[in-house]
Symmetry: C2
Subunit: 215 residues, 2 copies
């Protein structure tokens, strides 16, 4: 009796197809301007059908965002699976997040939203759970690596890995958000080259984590 299995596969496939369509429309128009009718048309389905597969527009949005989280996680995992010293890998994390920002800008922008609690009022428990899982995987990856740096003696033992991750994340994210929306503004108003600010600030933060600031 393979019918239920085949149906389940078909259902999964359709969910993916809908997500593909949603991704195209979201990336082209943005969350707010994208309409369910447009997504339905892109998916070559009726609007009603979308709601058989996803509870709400926000759920669709989160579905796409989770793809973005996975991509980032894969990039970070790859960047830290080399045979370089741990301290170099930690540096790689920052560079990789910046590369993600440059290469997957649309995904990066989606993270803005999730940040804002006012915009997930219609999200299903399931999607929220997936988001948290993905998020946790990201944090774990960074925290574990810093812990390893401590264990290996390159990073000061009084550094708290979780706190340290938070600081690195806040700094890079804050600056990249500015780069995304107001790069020109900051260039003109304050003569700031945000890319340089990012590099310098990350270097500074790394420096202050090191046991031996000579290196």
């Amino acid at each position: 009796m393979g019918i239920p299995e085949r149906k389940e596969r078909e259902r999964e496939h359709r969910r993916e197809e809908i997500l593909n369509a949603a991704q195209r429309v979201f990336f082209e128009k943005g969350l707010q301007p994208a309409t369910m009718d447009e997504i339905a048309e892109a998916a070559e389905l009726s609007k009603g059908t979308l709601y058989l597969y996803y509870k709400s527009k926000e759920d669709l949005y989160l579905g796409v965002m989770i793809r973005g989280i996975d991509i980032l996680h894969n990039m970070l995992a790859e960047a830290t699976s080399t045979d370089e010293p741990t301290i170099v890998k930690i540096k790689n994390l920052g560079d990789t997040y910046y590369r993600y920002f440059k290469e997957h800008r649309s995904f990066f922008r989606m993270f803005y939203f999730f940040q804002n609690p006012l915009f997930h009022t219609q999200v299903s428990e399931e999607m929220m759970g997936l988001c948290h899982t993905g998020n946790q995987k990201l944090w774990k990856l960074v925290i574990d690596l810093i812990q390893r740096g401590i264990d290996e003696g390159d990073i000061r033992p009084d550094v708290d890995p979780a706190e340290c991750s938070m600081i690195l994340w806040s700094n890079s994210n804050g600056i990249m958000m500015r780069m995304d929306t107001q790069e020109e503004y900051f260039k003109n108003m304050l003569g700031m080259d945000l890319e340089k600010v990012l590099q310098k600030s990350m270097a500074m933060l790394f420096q202050s984590m090191l046991r031996d600031p000579a290196k």
Copy 2:
């Protein structure tokens, strides 16, 4: 002929009244859920009248947000108009922003929005200009103070005041955003006390700015 003047005063007064109503409704319900009908009712006016005074819902939102910027600016200005040493004043900036976060949470949350470019599609040039002006005043206050710290010799001369402000802002803002939305989550998942993380990270950043890290 004082009639035009009186009318102008009345118009200003009504604009303020509408903004008061909008603020009440936005603070109670949030931007998305708040409706123009509710604001009109709170202002004891018809919806059409709101549009005689403000171009759009987003303009109203920005009007309220600008109040929040002004409050923050006043708090920062006051915190740095003491006769303490400059280096202490810089420390005060961070503490004051945190106090703002605690005491004016609703205003702090409004800043999320402005951050997100997808949500000001209906904003008037005028309001946008006011926002930028307010924003600039904030940056100027911080940058000038850091410059003074350099001039007085407490802060390393190779520090770039604008870059430095950006780093301090990114860090504190990033952590406070997390505190706002996910304080419990980070406490439970990673055992992080975000308030402590904020204190420690700010201390660390100040430290690395100092000419003589002894103090």
